[in-house]
């Protein structure tokens, strides 16, 4: 346990998670360096800088009192919904789909922030909902409205991936809040029925094509299936130990699309092989285990739901992205946390981490709850 000569603020940090996470980010920077053809300044440097900036932000979030979180939950949610509407309006005027706001110093993607936002507002909702009400419709109705507004707006953009991520986060919080199991089973069953209908009516052509191509990538090896095929070639050709740092031909010769964003895992696996892949999976495993442990040890209902929801939000990113690059899911634009180049996803993930760290701090200071 903490040694006397290390300040408590430092020794209290969850180093068991933080150190592997930093290693993962550093590893990500190395992969981005290679993806840029050995140029550090193209993507890798900004990747590291962003991580440092957002790490500081996470530390700040971690020190915020629970009371602030509770108070800010609804207003933050409201602001984010307003921003989503704003984005939609600007996009409508620009004559195309737009997902971000240009804030001069950075581009802000409100739908990204909505992922932790929905978890926060639902955690707050279920913490204030009387315990007795959790088993009837009153526990579902408001939550459905809270989810429906942002999810609908994001799907309208159209951004299926983010829409699903928001929905997934919300469903996890509902699930953890103790809503009756049969509701989830029922919803799952009806989803099975509705999915084919939605496939033909709600999805855009390009999304439908992606799904079809996912089912049979070889049907269109030069079109939409190209992404999946090339990604599988990159991962498969890496072998056990990879082709070596800087030797990935798939990424360097541009056969692999989006080699620094959505398909960064393929870029990595080509050069580092299964060894690198296992390392990435291991780090994610450590992060999720920490997140669930924190939520189990959390002092109250709000923080429990908050921590588990945030953990699962990160998990959803990783799960969908890795399934996609390995040909187990259709191509949806979801980046891999801490490895893909991109500010918005880095910010979202660090908000999630910061929030979980805050929960961890609350459980240290507050007396243990009921158990």
């Amino acid at each position: 346990m903490p040694r006397a000569y290390i300040p408590a603020t430092i020794s209290r940090q969850p180093w068991g998670m933080l150190l592997p996470l930093m290693a993962l980010v550093a590893f990500g920077a190395a992969v981005l360096d290679s993806a840029a053809g050995g140029r550090f300044d193209v993507w890798a440097s900004s990747h590291l800088v962003r991580f440092c900036v957002f790490m500081v932000m996470a530390m700040v979030i971690a020190r915020l009192p629970q009371e602030l979180f509770r108070k800010m939950a609804l207003p933050a949610y409201g602001v984010l919904c307003a921003l989503l509407v704003l984005v939609e309006l600007i996009g409508g005027m620009g004559g195309g789909s737009q997902r971000w706001l240009n804030l001069e110093f950075m581009t802000l993607q409100p739908s990204e922030l909505m992922k932790p936002g929905i978890v926060l507002v639902l955690a707050w909702f279920y913490s204030v909902l009387p315990v007795g009400e959790t088993q009837n419709w009153r526990s579902l109705g408001p939550a459905a409205v809270l989810l429906g507004i942002p999810a609908g707006l994001v799907m309208l953009q159209p951004d299926l991936g983010t829409g699903l991520a928001i929905t997934f986060g919300a469903v996890v919080v509902m699930f953890m809040a103790g809503l009756p199991l049969r509701w989830f089973l029922g919803a799952g069953a009806s989803a099975l029925v509705i999915a084919p209908i939605a496939f033909f009516t709600l999805l855009h052509d390009y999304q439908r094509r992606r799904v079809l191509v996912f089912l049979d990538p070889e049907s269109d090896p030069l079109g939409s299936g190209y992404h999946i095929s090339q990604s599988k070639i990159a991962i498969g050709s890496g072998g056990l130990f990879g082709k070596g740092f800087g030797n990935g031909s798939q990424s360097h010769l541009n056969y692999l699309p989006e080699s620094h964003t959505d398909f960064v895992f393929s870029t990595m696996a080509e050069e580092w092989g299964m060894l690198g892949g296992t390392f990435v999976l291991g780090v994610f495993g450590l992060v999720f285990r920490w997140g669930l442990k924190v939520s189990l040890a959390a002092p109250d209902r709000f923080s429990r739901l908050l921590a588990s929801g945030m953990t699962m939000t990160i998990f959803f990113y990783m799960c969908i992205n890795l399934m996609m690059v390995m040909g187990l899911a259709p191509v949806v634009g979801i980046p891999l946390p801490w490895m893909s180049h991109g500010g918005s996803s880095m910010m979202t993930n660090m908000i999630c981490v910061g929030t979980i760290m805050a929960v961890e701090r609350w459980s240290r200071s507050a007396p243990k709850g009921l158990s």
Binding site: G132, G178, I235, G236, G239, L281, G285, L292, L370, S371
Partner: protein, 690 residues
Amino acid sequence: MGKLPVTSAVLTNRFERRTFVLGALQGGVGLMLATRLGYLAVAQNEKYQAASESNRVNLTLIPPRRGWVLDRFGKALASNRADFRVDIIPDRVADRDKTMDTLAGLLSLPPDKVRDIRDKLDKARGFQPVEVAASLDWERYASVSVRLPELPGVIPQQGFSRFYPTGAAVGHLVGYVGAASAEDYEKERNPLLVTPGFKIGKDGLEKHFETRLRGVPGARRVEATASGRIVRDLGTREDVPGKPIQLTINAGLQDYAARRVGLESGSVVVMDCETGDILAMASMPSFDPNSFSDGIGRIEWKMLSEDDHVPLRNKVLRGLYPPGSTVKPMIAMSFLEAGLDPSASVGCGGGLRVGNRVFHCWNRRGHGTVDMAKAIYQSCDVYFYHFAQKIGMDTIATMARRLGMGQEFPMPYPGQSYGTVPDPAWKKKKYDKEWAVYDTVNATIGQGYMLSNPLQQAVMTSRIASGREVMPRLLLDRNAAQPKSMGFRQDHLDYIHAAMSEVVNGRGTAGRAKLPVDVLMAGKTGTAQVVGLNIGNGKGGLWKHRDHGHFIAFAPFDKPKYACAVVIEHGGGSGAAYPIARDVMTYIFDQAKAMEVLEGFEKQWGGNVQQRMAARYEVFAAKYGASAPKPVPDDAELTERVEQGRKPAEAPATVQTDAAAPRPEPEQAPVTTPSPAPTPAATPTTTGGQ
């Protein structure tokens, strides 16, 4: 669950259980991802490594240099020229019009050429490269190369292109090459066939010896990006050039013979009568295989297909003509072998009465007393009418076949026309009619059913000259055994040779065919009627109604070495043929003297073959420049149409009912006016025969 009152403790308990479910879900997904990773990276590693390697490494075939076609002295009839060229792969072109506009500007292509390329682009299947320009200079090649990024699908490259130094002179002899057609590719499934710059033999020797001439392609391995940018060279394997073929042809003589035909439509065959080596085999007018090999443009096609001189037909092998009086030495030989005394004579009074009919000699005034020698050098018809009646058609027909008439020779060209040697059995079988007197009369003067091609006439001449059973040979074989003897008596041969020498060097029908060198040439004239006297006299009038002119010759007459046959379609008589034979033979013995004569002629004709063809192209381009229809068939169709255009003249389908009027031999009627150059106006193409 609903029955118990839900308390905070229950929810916490439920939370813990459900957290465990989430953990299990995460673990499960993690395990699945790890398994999938292992499956891809380890179990299927080999497959994906191969795929990645085939992505990374781009294999570009380098078309092999084609084997040369050499003449007997090693001079090139077809060679390769290093050049810069630009091709288009239609499939990869983004904006066809824009690309063509840019290229036309960069390469300064004339509008008719641009239109030809557009035609080809429209027709080409995706994988077929279309040639935009070849034989470019460095500046223009470089100007395209630097603009490549904005010209997807355009491929500039350094390579080799086929080059025929003497152009049209070897068009029919060697053939031409061209981009492989879709049919070729279907047949062979060889990626080389669709490699830009690769040409396949389309006709003649180029087609017949394709496998031998082709060679083995080289390959260049490069590392290329997905968009095709080459990152680095991984190595190049040199091509293995095709094997050359050496012909018996004498390139200089071939070119001379082709040029000497001039404005006429005709063929010249020169053979070594001791070995059968073909020294020259020219059919003119012809096409320029150099420009054919780049694909045929609209104007060029119009020019060739509308020419009544049928430049697309190889007349040496596919032209059929009544041989006229050139068969007389052969018939005399059959008389000798049948035991006729050469001094036996008849009196020629201008005609021969058989029963109540009179068959005329070409010389209505009569030749007086005629023995065999005089019958040959004066070409007296009555002598042959008379003795043919006595000796019989079967003897003559047998000799004709022995000497090569009506025979097909093993030549590396498809579809020879081998004509007819008529006899009573043949007529019975073909027309179910009895042989009549006039049939014999016709046959003895090489008219009627008798049809032959110029090569057969050359073989006949060779066999009479050397007394050996020579077979025409096109591939040089220095170790070939000498052909065996025909079994003729030497004194018979000497007698015929002397009579044929008299034709040229004495009192004969072709006195002006005497060689201007110290070598005596022997020969025989022939004039074959094309239309009856009721339509024309055969000397003037419509070009296609004029008589065919023949001349067969060999030299030196006492020690025969070279044999020659000249056929001039509608030349108006043998007077059109023997000056050509004389000059061609002169070339063998004294090139300078022969060239001097030729250059004199070419000044009158408006330049040499290339210059005249270029001038005609200009005329056509000016006349039809913008409006030339689009008849340029695609490759497969073209081959077919070329084939049709060169279909042999049909043998007369109608039965002959009377004797042909023998045409006067031309000593007194020299032809000085060359037949007019064919005009662009469409005239029905003529067939060679009667």
